[in-house]
Structures are given as structure tokens and as C-alpha cells.
Point group: none
């Protein structure tokens, strides 16, 4: 009955389907991606996909969860330097990674699916949380002005990187991250 918990085919299928989903998402985008092509690429039957997920959105949300990697902030150096490091990592990540390649699809899907939206909101909140914590620390230590609103500043710091990637369709050059930090944190 709960045999499924141990049947190795289930796990093999799930991971094959997840990989295929990420690849399809990055290659053709959410709209053009089809369940049939995922099934074909993963070498599984369509029914196997529908057995585990309710549909395309559900599948994509679950596949994206699997590639959400933890980001850690450095602990050494001035807050400005550490913020720069974090943003540079983000810039590099946005320039080339599975998640970044799926980002446009993700944003589009989030518009019509609560699950995807929650996932994506969580993803950004996590990233932003890192920055906010650093800024809080800088304010506490006196390195940054007490007037600074960390939430707002985090959005202002990360904003241009996403803006560049999504609106101008050019990755933000990691080399210019320092300029942004200088502009915003004075």
C-alpha cells in the first residue's frame, strides 16, 4: 500500500522528470514547453507525470524547488565589501545558471499560479534577507547611516541587476556592482 515509499522507480522517474523540466524550461520557455516533450525527454510516460503533478505549473514549481541553492554571505570585511561580494555573486548567477535561465518563465508563470508565485517570492525574499541582514549589521556597527531603510536599500541595490537582465536583456556586468554600492551606500 505504502509500497510506493520504497519503490525505486518512483524516485528515478521524479528526478528524471525534474531534470527534463528544467532543461525544457530553459530551452523553450514556459509557454512553449509541453508535458509531452518533458515526458519524451525524461523517457517516461505522460501518465507518470500526471500521477505526480496536477499540471504544468505544479510540475515547474516542484522542479524549481530542486534547484534552489543556498546562498551564504561572507562574514569578513566591511559591510560595503560584503554587500559588494553578495551582489557580484548575484550578477554572475544571473548571467548564467539554470535558475536565471528559467527566471523569465518563472515570472510569467507566477502571474497565473499561486504556488509558483509563492515559490518565487520566497526565493527573492531569501536573497533580499541576506542583504538586509548585512545592512542591519552595518547600521548597528555605525558603518552605515542610521537613516538607511535596509528593506528599501536592498531593493535599490538588487533592482538594477534584475532590471538589466529582464528589461534590457543584458546581464549586469559584475564589474559595475561596486559603482552601484558606492552610489547607494555613499
Amino acid at each position: 500500500m505504502i509500497a510506493s515509499a520504497c519503490d525505486p522507480r518512483i524516485e528515478r522517474s521524479r528526478s528524471a522528470i525534474h531534470s527534463a523540466t528544467i532543461e525544457e524550461l530553459a530551452e523553450v520557455g514556459y509557454g512553449a514547453m509541453t508535458i509531452e516533450s518533458i515526458a519524451r525527454r525524461a523517457g517516461v510516460g505522460k501518465a507518470t507525470i500526471y500521477r505526480h503533478w496536477r499540471g504544468k505549473l505544479d510540475l515547474v514549481a516542484s522542479a524549481l524547488e530542486t534547484i534552489k541553492e543556498d546562498v551564504v554571505a561572507p562574514t569578513e570585511g566591511t559591510v560595503r565589501a560584503r554587500v559588494t561580494t553578495v551582489l557580484e555573486a548575484l550578477a554572475v548567477h544571473l548571467a548564467d545558471s539554470d535558475l536565471a535561465r528559467c527566471l523569465p518563465a518563472l515570472i510569467s508563470a507566477a502571474q497565473y499560479d499561486d504556488g509558483v508565485r509563492e515559490f518565487q517570492r520566497g526565493f527573492s525574499r531569501e536573497r533580499r534577507g541576506l542583504l538586509i541582514a548585512l545592512l542591519d549589521e552595518g547600521i548597528a556597527s555605525g558603518e552605515l547611516s542610521a537613516d538607511l531603510d535596509p528593506e528599501l536599500a536592498a531593493a535599490v541595490l538588487a533592482g538594477p541587476l534584475f532590471y538589466s537582465r529582464l528589461l534590457s536583456h543584458e546581464p549586469f556586468p559584475p564589474g559595475r556592482v561596486a559603482q552601484v554600492v558606492a552610489l547607494v551606500l555613499g
Copy 2:
């Protein structure tokens, strides 16, 4: 031959199709929108649509052009105040407009379609151009530091508005625009 330039039937079809496209886009989103439903809603044959546009993306891009309102920068007041006004207008626009509602779909589509990418790039460049011109003016008049990189500053100013809309799925509160301007332009 070039009768079409004058034939009123063509214009009637075009505008009926454009309206239907905007309505469908707002109601069901880009992904769920179909050419058939647009044809149905506009009361035209499918072929009439394909006669004038290459496909869904082309049609949507063209429909959006028709609702793209010109944005004009104010000419009175300090540059800081005028930048604030422009960004506030953008924040309001992003919070509720047909174009803003289609933005996620556009960004996604732009990944895979050159035409859409160009359309979208043009749209953002135009907006950004306004800001850059203002900043240039501020530098020239001495109101802003000569060290300021207008291109970068424009991305830093507009970035958080899009970041909020696209990544957090919350419109950026127009009331906080002033804070951003203060943070970035000192």
C-alpha cells in the same frame, strides 16, 4: 492594389482585433490566450488575423503599441523633483495598466522572440531615456554631482520598481519613490 491603404474594412478589422487582443490578454493572460478566441471575440475570420500579423507575439506586440501612451517629463522644478515625478508615474503605471499586466508575458516571450525583445527593449529604453536626459540636465546645471553615471543611476532608480513588481509581485508604493531618489541622488 495598394487599395488596402484606403480600404476602410481593413482598418475596422485591425482595430476590432486589437481591442479583442487587449481584452483577452487582460482576462486570461498571454499563455491562455488563443488566436481563435480573439477571432471569435472580434467577429472576424482567423485568416484575417494571419493576413495582418505573423502570430500571437506579433499581434500582441502590435496591440500593445496602440495603448503605449507617451510619457513626458515635466519641465519645471528641480531635477530631483522631476525625477521623482517621472518615477512616481512609472510606479503607478506598473501597479495597474494593461502594459504592466502583460509585462511578465512580454519578458518571457522576449527570451525566445527577437521581435518581442526589440519591442520591449525599445519600451524600456524610452522610459530610461527620459530619466537619463533629466540626470544629464542635472549634471550640466550642477544640481547633481559630475561623477554620477546617468545610465547606471537610471537603472538604480528604476530597478527597484520593476524588482518589486516582477520578483516580489507587489507594486512598488509610489509614496516611497521619494526615498529612492533621496538615497540615489543624495
Copy 3:
């Protein structure tokens, strides 16, 4: 609106589909026959089939109508000789013809579909009518006993041919038809 009445594609599709249906029916039987295989064989889209017929049964019934050939009784010779000729033709037909090859499928389908049943009943009634008319003529001319029930006799004459084909799965040898006639008509 009634443009379809003249569109030559419609007739081409219909006849291609009919042929493919008869071939499939004869080759694999009613149960194993699929709409997809018919569409593939006819070189048409599945939707084209569903556009014209409600389903498999409807399609089969309509395809069989197209191969229903008229049978004519000879007018010369004794009634016994003419009955023999008609039955021999039936025996040959049952041994090798599209309709005969589809007969088992037809009988099976008739069990669950009124349309197919009516078609098949009509087909047998027609054949039987020929025999009955001949027997009536024989009774009228005095060649056959006035006690003979033509309806019953027709069933007794044709019965063994179908019995052999359907129950023993062997075509009834045309050469033995004369014996049946001798047995039944004395």
C-alpha cells in the same frame, strides 16, 4: 457558409477515410481498429474524422454503405437453376470480398449499435429478398410446391453458407451449393 458543399477537399477526405476504414476493418477487426490508425492510413488528421462522424461505429456504418454492391438475379432458366446461381454467387462472395471480410466485425458491431444493425439487416434482407422473389415465382409457375414457405426456405438455403463461414470459419464450397438446393427444394 454552405461553402463546404463545393470544397473538393471534403470529398477527397471522406473517400480516403472510407477506404482506410474498410481496410482496417478487414485486417484487424472492429475491436482492434482505432481511429488513429485509420487517420494515419488515410493520411488525414484525426479531427477530420471526428468532424464528419460521431465515432467508430458511425464511421464503420458509413464506410460499409459505400461498398454495398447491387446483386441481380438471373432471369433465364428454371427457378432451381437460378436459385443455385444466386447462392453460388453468394458463396463466392462470402469466400472473398471486402464485405465478407468485414462481416464478423459487422455482426459484432451490430450488437451494440442501432445504425450498424439496421444497415446489416437491410443488407441481408436485400439478398434474401432476391431468393424469396425467385421462390415466389417458382410457386406461382408450379415448379415448386405451393406448401413452400418462401421466407423460411430462403433462410434455410442461405443459412448453411453463413454458418460455414462464421461458425466453422471455412468458406462454403460453391460446388456444394447444388446439393443444398436439391435437399431443400426437393
Copy 4:
């Protein structure tokens, strides 16, 4: 190993599956009947069915064997009377019995499956054997003409009953069996 011969569970499953098969067959017909629905109805796993039978046809053939009642020819009276009795029993059987209801499906299946064909041929041969034996007896006793071909006569006697059932889709009225016998056996 051959534990199955003794394991009471096996027998319980077999009979539950047989009953379920007969019920499904009668309710929805051969074509619409599925292994899954039989398994469901019998309260058994699909694999249990496939462990014992090769497929639907095999299962149906086997289920029908279980309800094949032995037919015995009467031993008293004239051969003509006894032939009439046997044919009347057949007419009644064809009018309403599980086997008769499955006959069209069987005939169709027999075209494409050797096993079913053999089963069905055996079924008719058995019935016909009864008739042939009676006719042989009649010839031996002098009641019937020595010229009579018992094989042929059997087909001519039984033919109309099947003809009526399969081609006209009307059960042959048992009351008219005597007329057939009179016509064929003089």
C-alpha cells in the same frame, strides 16, 4: 510450485474472476469490457488475472467454458422428432443465454485469434456432432434416405437458426423449427 492446484485462494480468485467476467460481458459487451473493471468487480489485482490468463480473449473463452452446459440428445422417439427437439433447444439457447449474447464477439474475435477460433469451432462442432449422430442413426435405421449427407444436412438444419440470430438479429422462433426439419428431412 504446483501448490496452486491446492491453494484455496487460487480457486477463490478464479471463480470470482470468472463470475465478474460473465457479468461484465453481459452488461457492457465484449468491446467495452476491460480487465480493470473485471479486477475491480472481482476484488482482485490486475496481475492476478494476467497470471492465469493471457488476455481478454483467453479469459472470456475460459469463463464461457464454465457456463457451457452439456447438451444431450433425447434417445426416445423418431429421429425427426429428436432432431426437432435438439434444434428447438438450440433456438431457445440462441434467443437468450450468455453464450449467445457473446456469439457475435466470439465470431469477430475468432477471425484474429487462433485460440478463440478453436474454442468456437469446438463449440459448434459439438452441437453439430449431436445432429450428425442423430442423422447417421436415422440413415442406419432406414428412417432417413441413404442419400442424405449428414454433415451437409446438419449445416442446413442449424444454419437458419444462426442466420436469423446473426444476420437478421432476430431469434429464430422455436415454433418454426419443425417446419425447417420437415423441409430438409422431407
